[in-house]
Symmetry: C2
Subunit: 200 residues, 2 copies
């Protein structure tokens, strides 16, 4: 398709500028070394690169570049719906994001709009190996942040060990090697914290 | 490869946390609606999504997911080398970035480290259709920002029309439809600005 209608180009441009809004959506995690919360746009980039680097250890195997497509669009509906901490997501959240996805991806011409919407739905449904691995990477990155910044978002949001393990077990299902490596670190982090509380 | 050495996993994790530093590298552009400069991490995400959406109009055709891989890693060496405005890049900049690329991608185990370094080198060389299109998208996004925020980064850095057209002609070589659409808008922007200066 070498001669798009000017109208189609204008729609892609409007969509690209709309993406700026994701840079204003703040998450609960502070990046290493920065005293501010990260936004969902920079997070989307970081998990995409993480997924490419971690893909060789996926089990079952995945198509790394498809995983990246899922991760690039997975948070776009937050432009309308906002970010919700994983430990507090409910049915309302999903409904709001579904409307948002239809609106934002609907800014695009076809076939791009439908393609992005399909990718977003695949990520949400988590029924394919690619989407399960993408979701695992989306869970892994804030875990790594917490393990390297003294559990900042766990502390600020009162998240207990049992909840961290339950929510993040999705990592075990898509990348068991990394879960085996990380789980004992999470447990020691909370054990250390409990000892500190007792001693204080 | 289902049972990576723990050592390899630790290297991927160290690399993922190192990526946080790109969130602190500021560019010259302010995102639409935000009164702050954007950082290179959120920019990398935005141009990757833009590339996926604009890929059907690439000429010659490109592999959209390969383009995305190039864009995801294209700014990573700025972690050490910093961002340089496109209108002021020289041989020193390239040398600094080459060292930075070797160090940062060298944090990864193999084959991931070499793969990322190859992608980064391909982007820099701009000899393949995929890399030329990726570069065009990297140029297009700040153009769109400037056209929608009154030429903010052009004004702040005293960039004249002739320089904007010369540097961004790379867009014409990889996505002529979008350049045909955008070039007259750039010219009217500068013509309007010149008239305003005369009248003030």
């Amino acid at each position: 398709m070498h001669s798009p209608a000017a109208f189609d180009l204008d729609r892609v441009i409007a969509f690209a500028l709309e993406l700026d809004k994701l840079k204003a959506i703040l998450r609960r995690t502070k990046p290493t070394g920065l005293d501010r919360y990260e936004n969902s746009a920079e997070h989307s980039w970081q998990v995409s690169v993480l997924a490419l680097a971690m893909a060789p250890y996926a089990e079952p195997p995945v198509d790394p570049v498809r995983v990246v497509e899922l991760l690039l669009v997975h948070d776009v509906p937050e432009i309308d719906a906002g970010d919700t901490i994983i430990y507090a997501r409910g049915a309302d959240t999903r409904e709001g994001e579904r409307h948002a996805a239809a609106r934002v991806f609907g800014l695009l011409p076809e076939p791009q709009g439908s393609r992005f919407l399909c990718r977003w739905e695949e990520f949400e449904a988590r029924e394919t190996p690619d989407s399960r691995f993408a979701y695992a990477m989306d869970r892994l990155m804030p875990l790594l942040h917490n393990l390297h910044n003294g559990g900042q978002s766990w502390r600020e949001n009162d998240v207990p060990l049992a909840r961290v393990l339950a929510v993040n077990e999705a990592i075990a299902a898509a990348c068991p090697a990394v879960w085996d490596r990380i789980k004992p670190e999470i447990e020691s982090h909370f054990a250390r914290n409990d000892r500190n509380k007792e001693n204080s």
